[in-house]
Subunit: 400 residues, 2 copies
Amino acid sequence: MTEPTRRAPLSADPLPASGAWRPGDPVGDRRFVTLPPERAFVLEGGGVLRGVTVAYETWGELDADAANAVLVCHALTGDSHAAGRSGPGHPTEGWWDALIGPGRALDTDRWFVVCANVLGGCQGTTGPASTDPATGRPYGSSFPVVTIRDMVRTQAAVADELGVERWLAVVGGSMGGMQSLEWGVMYPERVGGVAAIATTPAASAQQIALSSVQRSAIVLDPRWRGGDYYDAEPGDGPHMGLAVAREAAQISYRTEAVFNERFGRKELDPLDDRYTLWQRFDVEGYLDYHGAKLARRFDANSYLVINRAMDLHDLGRGRGGLERALARVTAPVFTLAIDSDTLYPPYQQQLIHETVRSLGGDATHVEISSPDGHDAFLLETEAVAGALVPFLNQLEKGDR
Amino acid sequence: MTEPTRRAPLSADPLPASGAWRPGDPVGDRRFVTLPPERAFVLEGGGVLRGVTVAYETWGELDADAANAVLVCHALTGDSHAAGRSGPGHPTEGWWDALIGPGRALDTDRWFVVCANVLGGCQGTTGPASTDPATGRPYGSSFPVVTIRDMVRTQAAVADELGVERWLAVVGGSMGGMQSLEWGVMYPERVGGVAAIATTPAASAQQIALSSVQRSAIVLDPRWRGGDYYDAEPGDGPHMGLAVAREAAQISYRTEAVFNERFGRKELDPLDDRYTLWQRFDVEGYLDYHGAKLARRFDANSYLVINRAMDLHDLGRGRGGLERALARVTAPVFTLAIDSDTLYPPYQQQLIHETVRSLGGDATHVEISSPDGHDAFLLETEAVAGALVPFLNQLEKGDR
């Protein structure tokens, strides 16, 4: 009889209850800003946090005028480690390492590049795994709902700390693009340019639906314990729920064509004389790999909170609609679409572009061709750089 | 503070541990064939079943030559109740009711229409919820893996019982189309025509990936209990896992455009002064509805087994590839594609069509335009009928 007869385990080594970075872990390249604990940070959704800490990283040098700073905003499961190697404190290589560095698109010989872990995250910025100063215990289920706007407000505190009155550009893909757009709307005087890649003016019904199923997978895991699992023994955290959420997401990040080409019907656990439910095709091994990898470095509650923030993203909310929101933007707006992206389809970036143009704003739109779907914003680094660099150069020259 | 603060429950009334039909429940329109218990039914995957029962329904009258019989094959969560109202024993209206009846596409004034619940199912045919004669207990986790070919072999037993030597046509959509194709390959002499709608010659990597995540959601549910949950108290079955699997599937059955139009960002639980993780957008209420509806009438283990059978579907397996498999088909082959179907994209039906044609077979291909994605095979009944009826008429006249 063929093994496996059950679903593959995530790992031979039990994972800690949460993949969150915790104080005491290696700091790596992180720096921190902590907001004054005596001042309540009131969230858009009505919650209140005190003493919010934001972890961030920087590359390059801020010039004397503080005019060469570029903010890079990360996506759902990213963090401040946008560039650099993996190592103590940083479980993975920088997620945009190919784009950030000397001579690269975000050229650290010219620009001062900053990336901050988002509010609600789990890599140094205050999130559900952080200690609630009111109780001395992890927030867990009591962590409030945050929005993209709340994330942007914490990034403004990082700018203040660094002495950056105005970003040369704010750049982001996917949820990072939601942040760059909100920067343009919320702080028009502080943004020289908005670059929004593979993102949307407002989460669509399909995006919400996919998010919702991912949240449901986490909640299904009995080890999620209603969100209060941080004291669990290694191996007893909600890793499987988080992994299944990631597996569902991973399918939406890629394309049918790439799956056909890369995996087809190849078998990882060969079918032989006795079929079981758990012999895996190659593509299932790929999903398992991505699920397990995320479970090792992420926190399930952060996934819930950030994924919900994405659903709540709507530039027009409380502002009289999309047009009136985008009318606040004074900076040039660069949008980038990926032709095969079915999760953030090109029409969404086109809508941003066309609305800005119709308002008389400065708008540039580029569509790149890639087989890789949504993840092309991470994978097609040459094409993204090729589109982004001219925009950044023009911003620097003051041509726009 | 706004409710809900937790994920919505499936139902106010606790559901029985399994939504399977069990002997003693109202029989409704079902009839049954039971294979001789003394003869082992050896499955393609190596398992053995004894005393397999197949539940089926019929509409219309078999003519004296037994030449007017049409077999309709159901999809993943369908059953033998392809036509007719809901009522005792039948939780839902016939899934193709608009196509089957007097004067309808599958005209029961002319044809004798048959639909059987698939092997591994939960609506009367032997499946995981059935009693294992060897133990007197439900099979549960010991139920073997079945394949589409095994399903077709049980349908051949129904044909024998009914005295149908040769079907005028075998018709099916989605997994039903997998069965109609296998009929053509396995029993060429018993099939007058094959109609394969929104289906594939072999499950693609993306189809497997989506299936795999759905299986994982069921397994995540602690109430699944390794597959042995049939003694659980009402409300204590793996309904939530099954519901989440269905929710994930439901997204793949429809389209982004329809979701935008129908739901957009409408709120079901209005956001007010305090946001929670569990206030639902309209589209989430839609998913909850479909998840809960399936949990009420289906069995989680059947979902696992049938969903796995779909992944294992590959006409060419063990036959030297797709061409050699389709070369066995002597019947005319009708394929129907839905232009917006991203789950079973048109290229898959075209591949069947082109392969049959290249082999000199009789092949007809129709593509219908619909906004509804894969589910158009259930929803666009007029368009499906309009394409199917000419094919059936030609078969009846012996024109093909």
